[in-house]
């Protein structure tokens, strides 16, 4: 009687006997040449942090994010620059007078030019 989850005697056992005969895989030729290129590239990349940042920046996802952020900021700035009601408009008085009143300044009626 054999259990379905247990291995069947036969091919699997033969297979296990042959298991130790897996030969080692060998590296494809000219590995050292390719490695030297990678090492040079790695050293170059390490030397230029700005280059790395630039590489990040030109990725489509990041470029799109930066662009969207720039547009949003522009819109916010534009919205804040809309003409607001000035003090003079509110009070319907000359600007200087309204300003003086706001800060509790008093206008002197003395004419300094007069002798």
């Amino acid at each position: 009687m054999t259990n379905k989850t247990q291995p069947s005697i036969g091919e699997t056992e033969i297979f296990w006997e042959t298991m130790p005969h897996i030969q080692r895989a060998t590296m494809p030729p000219y590995f050292y040449t390719r490695l030297q290129a990678k090492l040079a590239k790695s050293t170059q990349n390490q030397n230029s942090v700005t280059n790395q940042l630039w590489q990040q920046m030109i990725q489509p996802k990041i470029a799109a994010f930066v662009f969207a952020f720039f547009i949003t900021m522009q819109l916010l700035i534009f919205a804040n620059l809309q003409p607001t009601k000035t003090l003079s408009a509110k009070t319907n008085r000359p600007t200087l007078e309204a300003f003086a009143e706001e800060y509790n300044f008093t206008f002197s009626s003395y004419n300094y030019t007069k002798k």
Binding site: T5, I22, Q23, A25, T26, L35, K61
Partner: protein, 189 residues
């Protein structure tokens, strides 16, 4: 060029290019074979092997010589291969969500059956099934299995690489064999 291990390490730490070339020539097949057993993709295994030697070049100055050089290389190779696998799985998992990515196709395309170049049996399908089953093993069992059966390392060497005791290695290999037997018998039915 024939160097003792201490001389080689000393030369590497001084940045000797010839010593580094000697190291690569001597250990490249060992590193590649180990990574291939885990990554199961020849081109990717070569890329990871390159990363291993780049790390060796950059960090050999900090190598204290507490373990053998080969043990240190095995550890770096295994760590890099597992990192690569994790990275690949993550990419695969989120590949569909990232609609605006350059490399989404890379993550998905790597599903082809892997045939180990050292597989000598006529029954190639069995070999493919075996390596598929190896991929499903827990990490420790997979490492122990690959080191023992493709690198033919002793339990003692595996224990040193994995920083566990020999009994633990025996346990990993026993459980791995049981699991693979079950997987392969299911395949046969």
């Amino acid at each position: 060029m024939s160097l003792t291990e201490d001389q080689l390490i000393s030369a590497l730490q001084k940045g000797d290019e010839h010593a580094f070339k000697w190291l690569v020539d001597t250990y490249q097949h060992m590193v590649y074979n180990t990574i291939l057993g885990i990554v199961q993709h020849p081109q990717e295994a070569e890329d990871v092997a390159q990363e291993v030697f780049v790390q060796v070049y950059q960090s050999v100055a900090g190598f204290l010589g507490k373990s053998k050089l080969s043990t240190w290389l095995y550890r770096i190779a295994i760590t890099k291969a597992l990192d690569w696998e994790r990275h690949k799985k993550r990419k695969k998992r989120f590949g569909n969500l990232l609609f605006w990515s350059n490399n989404t196709t890379d993550a998905i395309e790597n599903c082809a059956d892997f045939e180990h170049p050292g597989w000598q049996l006529n029954n190639k399908e069995m070999g493919i099934a075996l390596f598929k089953a190896i991929q499903q093993l827990p990490v420790n069992q997979k490492i122990a299995f690959v080191l023992h059966y493709t690198e033919e390392l002793s339990y003692k060497d595996i224990a040193e690489i994995m920083t566990v005791n020999i009994a633990a290695v025996e346990g990993y290999l026993h459980r791995a064999k049981q699991q693979l037997k079950t997987a392969l018998s299911t395949y046969q039915q």
